[in-house]
């Protein structure tokens, strides 16, 4: 076993390489405080989550460990090397990767019996390993704190008690990781599994582990291992089938054997009896999870959190104040005057401070309209996430979502979509099957208004409460109908739902702020450049007359759904940002061109209409160009047909327009 090369300060006399590698990999199940620990080790924040599956990518940072630059990576949640979800496969690729690294296995100190089977698998990689018993404070308060010294002795690797939220044990963990040696032999596969798995393997730890996963029926490894040594593979499969009756039997028997090893390891390390669940938690869950009380609570949370707080405080009070006072009052007049004074050329003045200018449109929309809404939305989302409500919501809505080819897990991307559809399209990666990911992508693009759009649409329609109701009702109907149809058209296995329910807890202010801040930063890093790009494109289009041409092309479609020609530009802006389109309607409403029926029709169509540029690019990245274009076509078709239908119905009912 070789160790990392980047060790400094070694004299020529040094024969043995210094222990430890210059790359640390944080591995662990979701919801054990892994990302918080990553933050403590690197000073960077990965999104900390009390929901399995919001960290979808490998975050990485650098730590200065006594003069050594250590690259620290935070892998997505992993329960077992026998992976189920895409995030688990991402994490597993990191673990099984060829490069040298030190694995820091982060576990919940209260749940060692559930976590240590993975520790045993990780030890079998032969890589240096440190076990971080995190959330030690909770374990202590519940009386289930493990004896880390005894556990370290039995495992033969360093075991450190940590509390990521307070920083306890972080330095000790870093010192242990910096000096961690490769684990002692003997942590490979237990017998008799090892004998069978050794046959098709190449002799090193990694290939034995891969052979184990292949024999356990993992589709990612079966073929490569079989191709490597077909004869030996066939022999191993025959031996496996004879003894365990197939891949499933092998997987269960091996997991059971590991569990027995873990229970033996933990004998005397943790108190014999598990602490009973707190009465308060069980009672709260009964209220939150039974449909009779749980569903009204969902509606109440949506109403208070999103409608009142995001819609009222964020999109109402804050937007008004920033737009009217900060921009119209303080910022825009001096900036416009300065631009006209400094830049002599009118087209460039327009580009900066004209009607579609970088400052007047791009920056103003981003800061005055989008920022307050996005901040308040992500704040509410982080609160729900940190207190452990989201998994309960997933459980509660599972049956309903099953009818749409989804499982309760889809709740996370769908709810996040109300904040930012682009981010939600990325997070849809955590869903298990391609079918679920496609359906969620389609629903996000079509029927889930993002917060920027939501703010503007609600702002316009708020004068007519009936219009808000019609708009929301139509969106919900489209959501359910399209989901139902998509589930029938797309082939695939029915989704399955399984989830560990984290304990309910009072949200920690620091976690909530960190989560909100991380997401808002991500949003602006991804979105603000596009806001500015869109402003440039619109300015150029306005100058060259291309905008007018394109507007004329849209006019027949706009007339078809019963709207005046003046609404066409709003749809065109919608190509660039969904909320630009909605904001365009805002101007029409103020000018009195559109009545309530027209506004409702326009708002429905704009909401259903194509996703913004950022979301389109994300769809292409995550699901491929063909899928992105298909979604685009479906969204356009559905938007104008539903818009036309709603317009026709509203006119037929009459009394409104």
């Amino acid at each position: 076993m070789t160790h990392g090369a980047g060790v400094v300060g070694q004299g020529a006399a040094a024969v043995l390489p210094e222990a430890g590698t210059d790359r640390w990999l944080l591995v662990g199940a979701p919801n054990v405080g892994k990302s918080a620990l990553f933050g403590q080790l690197t000073g960077l924040y990965a999104t900390v989550s009390n929901y399995p599956g919001t960290s979808v990518e490998v975050a990485s940072g650098v730590r200065d460990q006594a003069g050594r630059a250590i690259r620290v990576a935070d892998a997505p949640g992993l329960y077992s090397l026998l992976a189920v979800t895409e995030e688990e496969r991402v994490a597993r690729r990191e673990v099984l990767g060829e490069g040298a690294c030190t694995i820091i296995h982060v576990v919940d100190a209260s749940h060692l019996d559930r976590a240590l089977p993975l520790t045993l698998q990780l030890l079998a990689t032969g890589k240096p390993l440190v076990l971080a018993c995190n959330q030690m404070d909770e374990a202590r308060s519940r009386g289930v704190a493990p004896d880390v010294g005894l556990l370290a002795e039995r495992l033969g690797v360093p075991v450190v008690a940590t509390v990521a939220t307070t920083g306890e044990g972080i330095e000790a963990l870093a010192r242990a990781a910096a000096a961690a040696p490769a684990p002692a032999d003997g942590w490979g596969l237990p017998q008799p599994f090892a004998a069978v798995a050794a046959a098709p393997a190449d002799g090193d730890e990694r290939s034995r582990l891969v052979a184990e996963l292949a024999l356990a029926g993992d589709p990612e490894f079966e073929e490569p291992v079989a191709a490597l040594a077909p004869d030996r593979w066939r022999g191993a499969v025959a031996a496996r089938d004879e003894r365990w009756g197939g891949a499933e039997g092998f997987a269960v028997a091996l997991a059971t054997a590991r569990r027995r090893m873990v229970l033996a390891l933990l004998d005397g390390v943790v108190p014999a009896a598990a602490a009973p669940r707190r009465r308060r938690d069980a009672a709260l869950d009964r209220v939150l999870l039974s449909p009779l009380t749980g569903l009204p609570i969902v509606l109440l949370v949506l109403y208070l959190g999103f409608y009142k707080f995001v819609g009222g405080v964020g999109a109402g009070t804050l937007v008004d104040w920033i737009e009217r006072v900060v921009f119209d009052g303080w910022l825009t007049p001096p900036v416009a005057a300065a631009a006209r004074a400094i830049v002599p050329w009118a087209p460039v003045q327009d580009l900066l401070v004209g009607p579609y200018g970088l400052f007047t449109l791009g920056v103003r929309y981003a800061v005055a309209i989008v920022l307050p809404i996005v901040c308040t939305f992500f704040l509410v989302f982080a609160l729900l996430e940190d207190c452990g409500y989201l998994p309960r919501l997933a459980l509660l809505l599972d049956r309903g979502l099953k009818r749409m080819g989804l499982s309760g897990r889809a709740v996370i991307p769908l709810v996040l979509g109300f904040g930012c559809n682009t981010m939600a399209t990325l997070v849809a990666r955590t869903l298990e099957t391609r079918r679920e990911r496609v359906i969620v992508t389609l629903l996000l693009a079509l029927a889930i208004p993002c917060s920027a759009q939501l703010g503007v649409v609600l702002g316009i329609l708020s004068v007519y409460p009936a219009a808000v109701a019609v708009w929301a009702g139509v969106l919900l109907a489209v959501f359910v109908f399209v989901g139902y149809i998509a589930a029938r058209l797309l082939p695939g296995e029915p989704p399955s739902f399984f989830l560990e329910l984290p304990p309910l807890r009072v949200p920690a202010l620091r976690n909530v702020l960190v989560k909100t801040g991380t997401r808002v930063r991500w949003y602006f890093a991804e979105i603000l450049p596009l806001f500015l790009l869109a402003s440039v494109l619109l300015s150029v289009g306005d100058l060259t007359g291309a905008l007018r041409g394109a507007t004329h092309l849209l006019e027949p479609v706009v007339r078809f759904i019963g709207l005046p020609d003046g609404a066409a530009p709003a749809f065109l802006y919608g190509f660039f940002r969904r909320d630009f389109g909605a904001a365009g309607l805002y101007d029409l409403a103020r000018a009195g061109v559109l009545g309530p029926a027209g506004l409702t029709t326009a708002a429905v169509t704009i909401t259903l209409f194509v996703p913004c540029i950022a979301q389109f690019l994300m769809m292409r990245r995550e699901r491929g160009l063909r899928m992105a274009l298909t979604v685009l076509a479906v969204a356009t078709g559905v938007a104008f047909s539903v818009g036309g239908l709603v317009g026709w119905l509203l006119r037929a009912v009459g009394g409104w327009a």
């Binding site: 499933e248 459980l395 049956r399 739902f497 560990e500």
Partner: protein
């Protein structure tokens, strides 16, 4: 898991051989408050991996907390939720 009697991997529901002896109880059939020990997993390979990820393994003791809208069980210190289809693949015996 493969049946040692007939070799099927489809589980025991509807099996005429098994019904002559006894009908193994599955997690899906347990009432709220029931305590049981997992005996074996009779699921397809995909479901099996999901159960293993949740830590539902032969020998594990559990208590049913809810049956609706999904099955919620307590295992040691952890609480896990699984849908009816997954719960049907978990063969249990009552008592711990």
């Amino acid at each position: 898991m493969k049946c040692t009697m007939c070799g099927t991997t489809a589980g025991c529901s509807g099996c005429p051989i098994a019904s002559d002896f006894y009908l193994p109880e599955t997690l899906a059939a347990l009432d709220v408050g029931a305590r049981a020990t997992v005996r074996r997993l009779a699921s397809s390979s995909g479901d099996l991996r999901r159960l293993l990820a949740l830590g539902v393994l032969p020998g594990v003791e559990l208590e049913v907390e809810r049956r609706w809208p999904a099955v919620v069980v307590r295992m040691g210190y952890a609480t896990v939720a699984l849908d009816a289809a997954l719960a049907e693949g978990v063969v249990v015996s009552r008592g711990v």
